[in-house]
Each structure stands twice: as structure tokens, then as C-alpha cells.
């Protein structure tokens, strides 16, 4: 054995490959790249990638449950006649326009489970300091987090739409003709679901950001969404009896009903008769967009003030 092979006394074995500290000479990207890096990480985090298996359970199960009905319909689609499928709603089948209306609870649970994850973790473990001491600004941080949750929700919402579309195309006598027929009906799902995803994400993060504790944020979210569904409809019902002229406007403040009614505008279908008939679906679109802006402002103002 030569002297060279013998480990030098006092130097740990790990140092054999130690080339010493090397400076980084490469390109340093700026603010937008930082924002993009956070967006990607945030989206991965929502779906539990790079986290333990248990973190993947909630998002995938909830997204799966939301898409489940569409899959069942796809599985049995051969049993339906063309006539039944075109009737859609009346036959009790799912269409692009009524899917969220019936199964929104899973989307809400997805928000309750994952929105606190997006904003509470960094506050509770004080990771925010590390972000704010980099090129990323406070407002950038808030908006990137919002965009990532909205994107995750958009995925959740669009998967069953795609499944429904596949089902309809496969059942057509000629697939190309069927696709051409179905596409105009399916495409409004994209802007409609974008609005729903933005709305749910803005409300969820705007509220969650005020609690560093996940559990409190989740309870707060659930309370807000469910109570804001119930309370305006009570007042509206009372108002309808008493002949109040203003009470129907309250329907615009319901988060889920409001967003669902707004989607009707994109699909060009009539409003659900249980909603105030005095309002058109365009009013709900305006209210939903305003809602997104209000809650995004609430979220941003939280991060403007939060101490790092």
C-alpha cells in the first residue's frame, strides 16, 4: 500500500472528494424567475409531490371523488341512447353545465384541505422570512400562492369535463363528427371553471392567510362557505315574502351558488329556478369577478403587513 492511498489522519473520509468551495459564476435570474420557482413548488406542494405519501392522499382522493361521477357516466355511456344524452339534465345525467352545481362539495373540501397548506405552513414555521429576504416581494408572494391554488382547482374542475367530453365523443357514430359537435358545448367549461377556480382560491386563501394554524383556517373556511350560502338565502326568502326590493341582491354574495350561477352565463343555460329570478346570470359573473378582486386584495393586504 502506498502512502497516497492511506487516509490522512484527522481528515474525515468525506473530504476525499471535497474540491473546496466554488463560487457560482452562472446566471442569476430575477424576480419573475423567483415567482415562477415558487409557483411550481407551490403547485407541487398542493398535490403532495416532494412531500410524504400522506400529503398526497387528501388532494388526490378529493379530486378523484369529484371526477368519479363523470367516470361512472363514461362507463355506462354505451347504455344511453342519443336522445337521452342530448336531453342531459332532465334525464338526470351530468352535463358540462350542471356538474359543479351537483358536486361542488368535493371542490369545497379540496379548498378546505389544501388552501391552509398553501399559506399557513410558511407562517407557522416562519419560512416567510426566507422568501422575503430574497428577490421575491410580499405582493409577489401572495399573488403567486393565489395563482398556484387557482391552477390546482382548475385541474380538479376540468378533469371531469374532459371525461364527459371523451364519453360523448366515444358514443358518437362518427367520432370526428361527435367531437366537432361536442367541442362548442364543452369549451365554455374552460372560462367558467377558470372563474370558479379563481373565486374559490381567492376566498380560501384570503381567509386562511389570517391564521398560522391549519386547523383554525380550515374551520374558518368551512364556516364562511357554508354560512354565506345559508344566511343570504334566508334573508332573501324572508324578503320575498315581505316584498323587500333589495334582498334578492344578497344572492350575489353567496360564494358557491354565486359562482355556479355565473357559470350558467358561459354555457348559455337558464339559471337554476331556486336562485332569485330577478337577477340574470350576467349579474353573477360581475359579482364573481368583483369577489375575486376583493379577496385577492384581502390576501395581499395581509402579506403587506405581516412581520417577517
Amino acid at each position: 500500500m502506498s502512502d497516497v492511498d492511506r487516509p490522512i489522519a484527522g481528515s474525515p473520509a468525506g473530504n476525499i472528494y471535497d474540491l473546496g468551495y466554488r463560487h457560482y459564476e452562472g446566471k442569476r435570474h430575477g424576480r419573475w424567475y423567483s415567482a415562477w420557482a415558487l409557483y411550481v413548488d407551490s403547485l407541487r406542494g398542493i398535490w403532495g409531490f416532494g412531500r410524504p405519501m400522506s400529503a398526497k392522499a387528501a388532494p388526490f382522493i378529493l379530486a378523484g371523488l369529484y371526477a368519479f361521477a363523470a367516470l361512472i357516466q363514461l362507463a355506462f355511456s354505451s347504455a344511453f341512447s342519443q336522445a337521452v344524452r342530448t336531453e342531459g339534465t332532465t334525464a338526470g345525467l351530468f352535463t358540462y353545465g350542471n356538474y359543479f352545481n351537483r358536486l361542488w362539495i368535493f371542490v369545497l373540501l379540496f379548498c378546505v384541505a389544501q388552501a391552509p397548506e398553501v399559506v399557513c405552513r410558511d407562517q407557522r414555521y416562519r419560512v416567510l422570512t426566507l422568501y422575503f429576504t430574497r428577490a421575491l416581494g410580499r405582493v409577489d408572494y401572495a399573488l403567486v400562492r393565489l395563482a398556484s391554488l387557482a391552477s390546482a382547482l382548475l385541474i380538479v374542475l376540468l378533469v371531469p369535463m374532459i371525461v364527459l367530453f371523451i364519453g360523448d365523443v366515444l358514443m358518437g357514430a362518427d367520432m370526428f363528427v361527435a367531437a366537432a359537435d361536442e367541442l362548442p358545448k364543452a369549451l365554455p367549461a374552460i372560462p367558467a371553471d377558470l372563474l370558479v377556480a379563481s373565486g374559490m382560491a381567492a376566498i380560501s386563501l384570503g381567509l386562511s392567510a389570517y391564521s398560522p394554524r391549519r386547523a383554525y383556517a380550515a374551520i374558518g373556511l368551512l364556516a364562511y362557505f357554508l354560512l354565506m350560502e345559508a344566511v343570504p338565502s334566508i334573508i332573501y326568502s324572508v324578503g320575498a315574502e315581505a316584498g323587500w326590493t333589495w334582498s334578492d341582491k344578497l344572492a350575489l354574495t353567496t360564494p358557491i351558488t354565486g359562482l355556479d350561477a355565473a357559470t350558467n352565463w358561459f354555457f348559455g343555460v337558464p339559471l337554476n329556478p331556486s336562485y332569485p329570478v330577478t337577477l340574470g346570470s350576467d349579474a353573477y359573473v360581475v359579482a364573481s369577478v368583483l369577489g375575486v378582486l376583493v379577496f385577492a386584495t384581502v390576501l395581499v393586504s395581509r402579506y403587506r403587513r405581516i412581520s417577517a
Partner: protein
Amino acid sequence: MALIEASGLTKHYGQVKALEKLDLAVEPGIIGLVGANGAGKSTLLKILLGLLPPTSGRVSVLGMDAVTQARDIRQVVGYMPEHDCLPPDVGATEFVTHMARVSGLSRTAARERTAEVLRHVGLYEERYRQIGGYSTGMKQRVKLAQALVHDPMLLLLDEPTNGLDPTGRDEMLDLIKRTGSDFGISVVMASHLLGEIEQVCGYLLAIDAGHLLQSAPISTFTQRTAVLAVEVEEGADLLAEVLARRGFKTRQDATRVLLALEDEALYDAIRDSVADLGLALVRIQQERGRLEDIFREAAPIAGGVQ
């Protein structure tokens, strides 16, 4: 280019005066920022990062204004906060890579730098495990790694040895020293322990209740009280006596004779005296004066610096 320059830097939180008219001009190197708890160390670091706006006064870091060019400063500065700042549910590699990307490094560069930096701070097999299961020492290493991963020009460390056991403390200090001397990265290290500053830093900034107490190279403190310790096997008392007769200031400490090193002739005197007395000389060692002693006589710090 000066590392940090400040003039009339003042920060008030309502009635509380955290920093009061601070004037600084610090050159690159390893700088110790010392002061009792609540003296304004963390506030100063946060102002340097542009996280807090100063109430009045001007401050620049690496020639950039901390208020108007905060974003540019943060690109080239690494910060290790005093408090915990790591999410528990990801591995060190995953987290540090992410932080590297947020600092503007491309995906490949981020991976390479993460692997290198984690090795430098001494995290090996455990780097894929979740941070939640790490010891305090390992967490401190990850915190340092995320501050170093984008190869900053300046590293701001707030109480980097917080919560570490004596071994971990020494390892962390050694790491900081290497970062400053071998990697060529300037370091500002805030601590309330003078001993740590003495061990690592070349320059000392002392603040107390928001006022600047001292700003000078550490050597100016230690030179003033350079002490030569002469250790002999026996007969230290004789040696002390002989040297005292020759006109040197001596003090005996068990088998050692401590001498004030004021004159080069001392070395010859020691040699001659030891030879004349026929003593067994063990070692002659120059001791640095204890910084805290000097500190206490120079300016007593209210609140008690340890």
C-alpha cells in the same frame, strides 16, 4: 468598496428606540456584531436586508442603498435568521434546492449548488430525510446552507449558535470562520457571546441600547494586552522573581508565569533567566487578552454582556 456604510441610522418602534443615530463604515471581512439581548442587533440586520425601513438616516450595503435597492441587495446577500424557519415536511435537499431557485438559480445549478453546500455544512446521508426529524444542530446547518446556496457576497447571521451544544457550537463557528476566510464571503455575525466573536471575527461592532459602542478590528483590543505565558516544569516562582527583578511585569499562575509583552527584549530575558536557573522549559505561548476583560474596562455594558 465599503461593505456597510451608515450615517445617522435611526429606527424607532413607536416609543422604543431600537437604533439611535448609528454611524458605521465597515470593510469586508468577518464582522462580529455584539450586544445584549434587545440591543438592536436583529433590527440592524433587518434594516440591512431592506426588511425594515429606517426611521431616518441612510444605510448602504455593498454600495447599494438599503431602502431603494433592497431587491438588488437581497440577490447577493444570504440571511440566516435567529428563529426557526424551516418547514418540517420536506427534506433538506428539496428545501435548499427550492430556495436556490427562488434566489434565481436555474434548476441544474440549484441542484449542484445544493449538493455542494450541504456537503460544506456537513449534512450527508440525512439530507433526504424530513427536516422535522432533525436535531437542532442539523437544522442550524440547513439554515446556513440556504443562506449560502446562491453564493452571496455577504452573509448575515443572527445568533447562528443558538441552541447548540458545545461541540455543535464549535463546529458552527469553525464553519463560519471557513466561510469568511476560505470562501471569501464577508460575514456579519450577531451574537451576545463575546467569546464567539473573539473566536471567529476580525472586526468588532458593539452596540448597546441602539448606540454604537465600539467599531474596530479585534486585534486592536487583543494587541494592547498581549500576554506571554511561560510554562516551566517547576520553579515558576523563581522565574517570576528573576524576571520581576529585571523590570518586567509578571504574574504567576500555577506552573506558568504570565508576562506583559511590551518589549521584544522580553524573549531574550526569558531565555537567559531560564538558562541561568536551569529550569525545564515546557512552552512559551503568546496569549490573546480576553476580549471581554478589555470590553468591560473600556465600556461597561448595561444589561451584562456574557
